[in-house]
């Protein structure tokens, strides 16, 4: 166990360094890429909210609410509100809020520093720090509401979409211009400019204080929902026989378990965000960026859900393993479910296709590539995943083993390389045609490669089941 912990720690550090390096790289490279009619920092400032959105959604994986943290301290003779204050202040001052600085600091030095020197750079970064702290409190506020009722997830989604639409729908991007002017004042250390994030911080600090105080009791006296109001039978799926039963299982797993639902909704949210960005914004009209966003629009949900394939099933793996070939049927259902889900980004891209901004062929090329080439890669995780993920209880960050890391990285970066290679070697049209053909082959042969995955899973079954049991005990 000790060795395992040491390895897990190593992986955490490795992943931290990996992402930090990636962000530093982006921070160094992006200023040159964004420089054009506007200075690169103006481009970033006009779309600063995208950075905050990313920061916001990433917090779901890593940051607990104070109500959850305070829970174990409620048995001590401490005033709950005081403990809550400590945790709320800590949430504002935590080093975690500075993670984006791996990107922002090099970005500032590659852009602002040339024009405004040290003071300007530090002023701009200080402003960003306040924005990230404000984002932290906004996240805590939303998270607390979501814990109360899942429907509140709509609040940050609406807020994100509203801001994006407000910047991209009007002919003249008044809001974007305002953001540029306002954030430029950070560079000059204008106190009025800092008042906006400070006001935001104060408002959401006190809103959190009120909301979270009420929630501590709920956390302490947490009870499961006893009875369901409505339980759909999904009769339409009965015609698919055993496959239909496993498809029902996939749907119910996503709708009835907090962690699975959250990850699924996050994926859907990102698809909507990507689609809106490509459809309505001209900020990313460059061919590379359009390709990039369009491709990851098809990829994001699969990556988010299939990376941990079988990990949720670890909760009832003994039951599954005591049924004949149930894992094979389960894998087939998972594949079909993910294929069907690809219709969502395709549908959302239709306006962009109709407007001629992105070609139908490119969309089909990416969709087929993801379905027939990338999914088979992601499904390999089924062989190696052996940690049970809790379906409902709070999930602290989990680390994957090195095989999973390698597969994840390949799946994330190989598609963009492959598409670029096809386009360079074969040109736009033939490149996409090749992707469609390859994807179709992958889809048509899914019973074969799924059978192969199933056989390899069965060969490792004892090792995996041991892992599932051990991690289930520690969840």
């Amino acid at each position: 166990m000790f060795e395992k912990n040491k390895f897990a720690k190593f992986l955490i550090y490795f992943m931290f360094i990996y992402y930090a390096a990636l962000m530093i790289f982006m921070g160094v490279v992006l200023p040159a890429g964004l420089d054009g009619s506007m200075a690169s920092f103006h481009v970033l400032d006009s779309g600063f909210f995208y950075v905050l959105f990313l920061d916001f959604w990433a917090r779901f994986l890593l940051q607990q609410t104070p109500a959850q943290q305070v829970k174990p301290l409620t048995v001590l003779p401490l005033k709950r509100k005081k403990v809550l204050d400590v945790y709320l202040i800590r949430a504002g001052l935590t080093w975690g809020n500075l993670f984006m600085f791996f990107f922002l600091v090099p970005f500032a030095f590659m852009s602002i520093f040339y024009y405004y020197g040290w003071t300007g750079t530090l002023g701009w970064l200080f402003g960003w720090w306040l924005l990230l702290v404000a984002d932290s409190y906004w996240y805590l506020f939303c998270r607390a509401l979501i814990i109360k009722n899942m429907a509140w997830v709509i609040l940050p989604i609406v807020a994100n979409v509203a801001i994006i639409l407000a910047t991209i729908l009007p002919e003249k991007n008044v809001l974007g211009d305002f953001f540029i002017d306002w954030m430029e004042q950070f560079i000059f250390w204008n106190p009025l400019a800092y008042l906006i994030p400070i006001a935001f911080i104060l408002i959401f600090y006190f809103a959190n204080r009120k909301l979270q105080a009420g929630m501590i009791y709920n956390e302490v006296a947490k009870t499961e929902e006893k009875e369901m109001k409505h339980a759909s039978e999904f009769k339409a799926l009965n015609r698919f026989g055993i496959m239909g039963e496993y498809l029902k299982l996939e749907i119910r797993m996503r709708t009835r378990n907090k962690n699975v639902r959250m990850s699924f909704l996050l994926g859907i949210g990102l698809i909507i965000l990507f689609s809106i960005t490509v459809s309505f914004s001209d900020v990313y009209d460059g061919a590379f960026m359009q390709n990039f966003i369009c491709l990851y629009n098809y990829l994001v949900l699969g990556v988010m859900t299939l990376q941990s394939i079988m990990s949720y099933e670890g909760n009832y793996i003994d039951g599954l393993m005591s049924r004949h070939e149930s894992i094979y049927d389960l894998l087939r259902a998972k594949y079909i479910f993910n294929l069907v889900m690809l219709i969502l980004p395709f549908t959302l891209m239709i306006p962009t296709i109709v407007s001629g901004k992105i070609s139908l062929l490119m969309n089909l090329g990416y969709m087929f590539m993801v379905a027939g080439l990338i999914f088979p890669g992601l499904f390999q995780m089924a062989v190696y995943n052996s940690d049970t993920l809790p379906l409902n209880t709070k999930m602290t960050s989990k680390t994957n083993n090195w095989v999973q890391q390698v597969i994840s990285l390949v799946v994330l970066f190989a598609p963009i390389l492959l598409t670029q290679l096809c386009e360079v070697l074969l040109g736009d049209v033939w490149g996409y045609v090749v992707l469609i053909v390859l994807g179709t082959i992958g889809i048509a042969t899914h019973p074969i490669w799924l059978r192969n995955i199933y056989k390899r899973f069965m060969a490792r079954r004892h090792q995996n089941m041991e892992g599932f049991r051990a991690s289930r005990a520690t969840n």
Binding site: E224, K226, M228, K229, E245, R252, D318, S322, S326
Partner: protein, 252 residues
């Protein structure tokens, strides 16, 4: 699924079976046959290796040495299967060991239906099957809109046992089936198991700490100590009760 009125045959042979967890030997059985149609009760103190043995028979853990072989007839054809090498024996085997057998985000009815469908049991057969357990479920399992995770431990136990029997298995394995059950449910499950055994001739393995219940329904009892079957007791008219009480020092 086997028809209810047909007697089935399935024997389980344990050969040189050994399972260790680190230094500790959890199961160590040279040779032991569970005959076709046996209703075997497995008893022993905590850590004796009862659940581990069940997991080995179900191929849920890997044996360090040895093998579990099922020999008998399935759908009229003679079969001989090493459980670690093939998988089709799962078609004639039903088991409930612990909660990791339950998909807890389903309602009991959804779970029964799921198990039935993937086991080739029709809706009508399932309905017929559940009707037999109406008394055992005592109105708190079927027809509920509660998810399995919201049920009491006893009702979860009932769901697991009923689900294990849905496909009318030739081999039925239940780990501590009397746990968490109220007295009338304990009585009901004893009656259910006896009837099922009489009707189908299935090979049934149960483990329990409750000696009375075990001797009530099991004509054969294996006593496990540190992973070794130290006594193989023929139990006629509860004759094993005294021997077991002496072993467990109940009356001292």
């Amino acid at each position: 699924m086997q028809p209810t009125n047909t007697k089935t045959t399935m024997e389980i042979r344990l050969r040189n079976l050994k399972k260790c967890f680190g230094e500790k030997v959890a199961v160590n059985i040279d040779s032991y046959d569970i005959h076709s149609g046996d209703m075997l009760g497995l008893v022993g103190n905590n850590g004796a290796g009862k659940s581990t043995l069940f997991r080995l028979i179900m191929d849920l853990i890997k044996a360090n040495e040895g093998e579990v072989i099922m020999v008998g007839e399935f759908q009229g054809q003679p079969v001989e299967r090493n459980v670690a090498e093939q998988e089709d024996w799962k078609q004639w085997t039903g088991a409930f060991i612990d909660e990791s057998f339950l998909i807890d985000y389903l309602t009991p009815d959804e779970y029964f239906k799921f198990v039935a469908k993937i086991s080739g049991v029709t809706d009508e057969q399932l309905e017929e099957h559940l009707a037999k357990y109406e008394h055992f479920m005592s109105g708190e399992v079927s027809g509920q809109k509660k998810l399995i995770r919201s049920l009491s431990a006893g009702n979860k136990q009932k769901v697991g046992i009923i689900a294990a029997m849905i496909q009318q298995p030739q081999v039925l394995i239940l780990d501590e089936p009397f746990n968490f059950l109220d007295p009338s449910s304990q009585h009901a499950i004893k009656r259910i198991l006896k009837t099922y055994h009489d009707e189908t001739g299935a090979t049934i393995l149960i483990s329990s700490h409750n000696l009375n219940h075990t001797t009530d329904i099991c004509p054969r009892i294996a006593l496990l100590e540190n992973g070794v079957i130290i006594r193989d007791i023929q139990n006629e008219n509860n004759s094993a009760e005294k021997e077991l009480e002496e072993y467990f020092e109940i009356n001292e």
